[in-house]
């Protein structure tokens, strides 16, 4: 039983940065902007968070700074793509590589140093739970409440569906996009901070969270841009990571790296599944067979209609 609880707690902890970052990305994609810089931005934020925590001695200050770093990267992306008309893909991709190298370069002085971390908040009977778990759970509810029960959440989704329609109803499209991407970036930054201050304490090259950002981008697609499914996807991949550690004990013949890359082929498979419903043959089959139709419509994720498309108010 203790083993079971420990595993669950392990998944919750490993999942919290994934939850934060993929929910953040969900927000920005729901407003129509793909932030491809996620992976690099998370790494840079992890470094920034740890460095500030080490300098000031306050892990929480560092955590916050991680969030701001993520927001800054996202802010650059959205301003350049909205106002200068640069390709979101190209800028996002360059940023992800740049931020990664920037993190290693600026973080050189902080590598392999012991530093503060966020510690644990205990629950009687369960033991210590990292604060980032609480943060991620709170974030889930906040994002869900905001997205579906507030006026601004409604507007953000509308902008991602059809900026033209939103504009014709008096919504300020660009402003909403920028705010959503900034928020998404802030959450990705918090995820980075969660790695260096709670999940894989410290900074180094590699830090250990490399590739997590890409997984988060895939989780958003797999989760069909819907917050709860995205959360489920994040915990699924966290469970894979945790299972990898356990499986390693079971199969000592297979070296650890094999388990570390396991999430990636699974990421491709999940994307394949999510897109299944859009293939012509499957569509035809679903039209004839109600059982197939049910499966496909459960998996089928339709992206926000205007995802990745530019919008010009003047027409």
């Amino acid at each position: 039983m203790d083993m079971f609880i420990a595993t669950i707690l392990g998944i919750l902890a490993a999942g919290s940065p994934l939850v934060l970052a993929s929910l953040g990305e969900t927000i920005s994609e729901r407003a129509g902007v793909v932030n491809l810089s996620l992976d690099g931005a998370m790494l840079l934020s992890a470094m920034a968070a740890f460095a500030l925590a080490l300098t000031t001695g306050s892990a929480w200050l560092g955590f916050l700074f991680g969030g701001l770093t993520g927001a800054a990267v996202a802010g650059f992306l959205v301003v350049v793509s909205v106002y200068l008309g640069c390709s979101q893909m190209a800028i996002g991709f360059i940023l992800t590589l740049l931020c990664r190298d920037l993190a290693y370069f600026l973080g050189n002085d902080y590598a392999r140093l012991p530093g503060p971390d966020l510690g644990y908040w205990s629950i009687p009977g369960l033991g210590g739970i990292s604060p980032v778990v609480y943060v991620s759970v709170i974030a889930m509810f906040l994002v869900w409440r905001w997205m579906f029960f507030t006026r601004s959440g409604l507007r953000a989704r509308a902008v991602g569906e059809s900026p033209q329609a939103a504009f014709s109803r008096g919504v300020k499209v660009n402003r909403i996009r920028i705010l959503c991407v900034l928020t998404g970036g802030f959450m990705a930054g918090l995820a980075g901070g969660a790695y260096s201050l709670a999940i894989k304490n410290g900074w180094g090259r590699p830090q250990g969270c490399e590739g997590a950002g890409w997984i988060c981008l895939a989780i958003v697609i797999f989760g069909g841009w819907s917050p709860w499914k995205v959360v489920a996807g994040a915990y699924f991949f966290a469970a894979l990571q945790v299972a990898g550690i356990h499986l390693q004990d079971l199969f000592p013949g297979l070296p650890g790296p094999v388990f570390q890359v396991a999430p990636f082929p699974i990421m491709i498979l999940t994307l394949l599944l999510a897109n299944l419903g859009r293939m012509r043959r499957v569509k035809d089959l679903a039209a004839r067979n109600p059982f197939v139709k049910k499966i496909v419509s459960g998996l089928n994720a339709s992206a926000p209609e205007a995802l990745g498309k530019d919008f010009n108010e003047d027409m």
């Binding site: 059809s162 033209q164 008096g170 926000p304």
Partner: protein, 489 residues
């Protein structure tokens, strides 16, 4: 609320969509805005509701200038528009669509307002349904209620009867009467359908070529309205059929039976059609009623869901587009740059793609000769994106091989000047004499009447009529396009 439009002008590039429109609208009345495709009706209405910024002119509300409008400001002063292409959010819920741009509010408040309003109009909505699961008519009713919830005093309906059921249409007309007569709002009814306009409106404005060309009050004379819409000679039978070629033998270029083509959001079903060499067939009807799936389907680009398609005796049902092209079917899309050409590639590269055998000096000589023949005054190194609309079309034509059997054109002369139109038709008729069959869609009735042997009329997303063009008048064709059969055809 009185509205006065003064000298409204709008250009899109070289095209003058509005050339100085004056009109005044008073409350408590239903205004009809009539005109053929491209007359400027929709543009004018988009200007009024703040979606399009005019290049000149002024909008006065109760005598005072409204200044530069945007959608938010227009809504605030009480002007709202029901768009022709539904500007809503299909993936979102009914109450969300109602709340956005209406008075707002959360689920409970929006659902309550919606229930109150829909009750008084005898509509009914489940606030938690996804909009995508509603019919076009229901989506339109919802938009109408949203605008009323926002408190609009001037309601614009752009072609609101396209694709809705008869009951929904009657409910809509009842609502329009009530809003104008009982509630003293201004209703503007933009339509293409003469019958409906005559039934509904207290006042009809006719637009043509970017101007208001006439204002009428009941009792209306349909003949006069048609004349104003389609020009002085709307009732004149067309000159003898052009290029009286074709039908030389019993061969069929194209035979379609029971064909179903997938369009955007609907299927164009049950098409039976037989086309002979040298025939020119025009596709008439309000845009989006099935012309596009038919033309694209005949090029293998729209999916054929059922039926049989024979091109020159070869069964091509369900085959990929390269087979159609290889068998001699060529489509020239209306969106020349977006769907037909490769924007950053040069004229030379287009020739090389179309005619793989062209090489070296001989190839260049052929290209230059082709350009001269098609009056394409451009350098071979010029990328397609730099070509004018007319030259893009001439390039598309120059790239069609001699042995083409079926030539499909979407709006062959849209946006082109008169001289280009003449040259293009001269060339197309030449192709016909060589034995090619031509199918083309057009919004310009004169173009159809001037060049066709046969006209296919599309109405309510199906093939409504297949008529011989000789002796057909613009008025009769206009009537067919408005869904009226009979009248001595």
């Amino acid at each position: 609320m009185d509205i006065t439009l003064r000298e409204i002008r709008k250009n899109y590039g070289a095209v003058q969509a509005l050339r100085g429109v004056d009109a005044s609208l008073r409350p408590g009345r239903v205004y009809g805005l009539l005109g053929e495709n491209g007359a400027g009706k929709s543009t004018l209405m988009r200007v009024l509701c703040g979606r399009t910024r005019p290049d000149g002119g002024d909008i006065l509300i109760n005598g005072a200038s409204a200044g530069a409008l945007n959608p938010a400001r227009a809504l605030a002063v009480g002007v709202g528009m029901l768009q022709q292409d539904p500007l809503d959010f299909p993936a979102m819920k009914v109450w969300e669509n109602f709340s956005l741009g209406g008075r707002g509010g959360g689920r409970a408040k929006a659902a309550e307002n919606l229930a109150n309003l829909s009750g008084s109009f005898h509509f009914s909505f489940d606030p938690d349904m996804r909009l995508a699961d509603l019919t076009v008519g229901e989506r339109q009713q919802l938009s109408l209620l949203r605008l009323l919830d926002a408190g609009v005093r001037v309601l614009i309906l752009d072609e609101p009867t396209t694709g809705i059921s008869l009951e929904q249409k009657e409910a809509l007309f009842a609502a329009m009467r009530r809003l104008s007569k009982d509630e003293n709002r201004t209703v503007i009814f933009v339509t293409h359908n003469l019958e409906e306009a005559v039934d509904m409106c207290d006042d009809i404005l006719v637009m043509s070529h970017g101007r208001v060309t006439g204002e009428f009050t009941p009792p209306y004379s349909k003949e006069e309205l048609l004349t104003r819409m389609f020009g002085e000679d709307a009732a004149r039978p067309v000159k003898s059929s052009p290029a009286a070629a074709g039908r030389r033998d019993g061969r069929e270029t194209l035979a379609l039976s029971g064909a179903v083509f997938e369009g955007e959001g609907f299927d164009l079903a049950d098409i039976d059609l037989c086309v002979r060499p040298g025939e020119i067939i025009g596709l008439a009807g309000l845009e989006g009623n099935g012309q596009e799936p038919l033309l694209r389907g005949l090029a293998g680009r729209a999916r054929m869901k059922a039926g049989r398609l024979l091109l020159d005796g070869i069964d091509l049902s369900g085959k990929p587009p390269e087979r159609f092209r290889f068998s001699g079917s060529h489509l020239l899309p209306a969106a020349r740059l977006e769907r037909g050409l490769f924007p950053d590639m040069s004229v030379r590269e287009h020739f090389q793609l179309a005619f793989p055998e062209l090489k070296g000096a001989g190839g260049t000589a052929f290209m230059e000769a082709s350009c001269r023949r098609f009056r394409l005054p451009v350098r071979l190194s010029e990328p397609a994106v730099n070509l004018s609309g007319g030259n893009q079309q001439r390039l598309q034509l120059a790239l069609i091989p001699e042995n083409v059997k079926l030539l499909l054109l979407e709006h062959p002369t849209r946006g082109l000047d008169l001289e280009s139109c003449r040259q293009i038709w001269e060339h197309l008729e030449e192709r016909c004499r060589q034995g090619a069959a031509i199918l083309f869609s057009s919004a310009d009735l004169e173009e159809i009447l001037d060049h066709c042997h046969r006209v296919l009329v599309f109405f309510q997303r199906r093939l409504f009529a297949d008529v011989n063009a000789s002796g057909l008048s613009a008025g009769a064709l206009g009537a067919l396009m408005s869904g009226q059969k009979g009248e001595g055809l």
